[in-house]
């Protein structure tokens, strides 16, 4: 069974729901780091598995050429996989921003995992709340450090032919730190999402 892509209206509602999730994620990050986070307009598209890498490459093009990536799976009524991609240039500033001194050796990798967990958690919990669906998270895992985007996302067998690709980016004011949150949702989740979006709309 092929899931129909969302219609224009559903797409608009989804965009707004993502916007709210992104706002919550931005606020969480701002709280954690005590900085101002510049938010972008979320971008939502429908992709074939084959297009995924190319599409994400287009979305993040220009901001950096080398990336660190962390993935985190989510499951329950909404299920899929989210990635946060960090431009290598801004990564180094993270430890300073987090206020860690070097004594306890908070490794760069662990910081990236933490920030990823916070962004994905806040954003998706925000989305799930709006559409009134349950969501849970697996632990985040590192996909790679200091790699071109194709290498980070390449050769990952995904189970779904078609998926919803959502991208938002966060830039910390007065720093080089920027990251993109990209998520893919399974076809089964799209149906859940669709029903949730309709009731979200009716709540207005």
């Amino acid at each position: 069974m092929k899931t129909e892509s969302l219609n224009e209206e559903e797409n608009e509602i989804l965009q707004e729901v993502i916007n709210i999730g992104m706002g919550q994620a931005g606020a969480s990050l701002a709280k954690l780091l005590d900085v101002f986070v510049n938010l972008s307009v979320p971008r939502v598209s429908w992709v074939n598995d084959d297009d995924f890498v190319v599409k994400v490459g287009e979305l993040v093009a220009g901001s950096d050429d080398s990336w660190a990536g962390v993935r985190q799976a989510f499951y329950n009524q909404l299920e899929g996989e989210a990635f946060v991609l960090y431009g290598t240039n801004g990564c180094g500033q993270l430890a300073d921003l987090m206020g860690y001194d070097n004594n306890e050796g908070m490794a760069q990798e662990e910081l990236l995992l933490d920030v990823t967990n916070i962004l994905i958690g806040a954003c998706l919990v925000g989305v799930a709340q709006q559409v009134d669906k349950e969501i849970d998270f697996a632990a985040p895992t590192l996909v790679g450090l200091d790699k071109p985007i194709d290498d980070l996302l390449y050769s990952r067998d995904r189970e779904w032919d078609q998926c919803l690709l959502i991208e938002v980016n966060f830039h910390l004011e007065a720093t080089n730190f920027a990251c993109h949150l990209v998520m893919l949702m399974s076809e089964g989740s799209i149906e859940q999402l669709r029903s949730g979006l309709l009731s979200f709309m009716e709540s207005y």
Partner: protein, 124 residues
Amino acid sequence: MSVPLLIVDDSGFSRKAMLKCIPEGWDVDITQAANGEEALAALRKGLGEVVLLDLTMPVLDGFSVLESIRDEGIKTKVIVVSADIQPKAKLRVVSLGALAFLQKPFDKKSLAAILAECGVYSED
């Protein structure tokens, strides 16, 4: 006489949602804008005595709209309606001259309360 009300949001859904939540008794003349530039064009024509303004938008964002309003000395009452719920975002829009901040998602009640708080419209 009806009040010129300007609704600024890049999301068509969000504009529709705002329209739905406008109090029924409020006599308004509504103009819609999908980004900051459209909003400024409408404001310069006097179409926004009251503005409901989103922050995160393409072309020109809400912060820039507030700056232009201040720089050009446009007389208007701005209520920011945004999902950007950082405390610093609220402080920033207020320091740029916005009257109030309404957090998304909102409903009829919360909009009515903000309108009353700003002295723009009260149902009583």
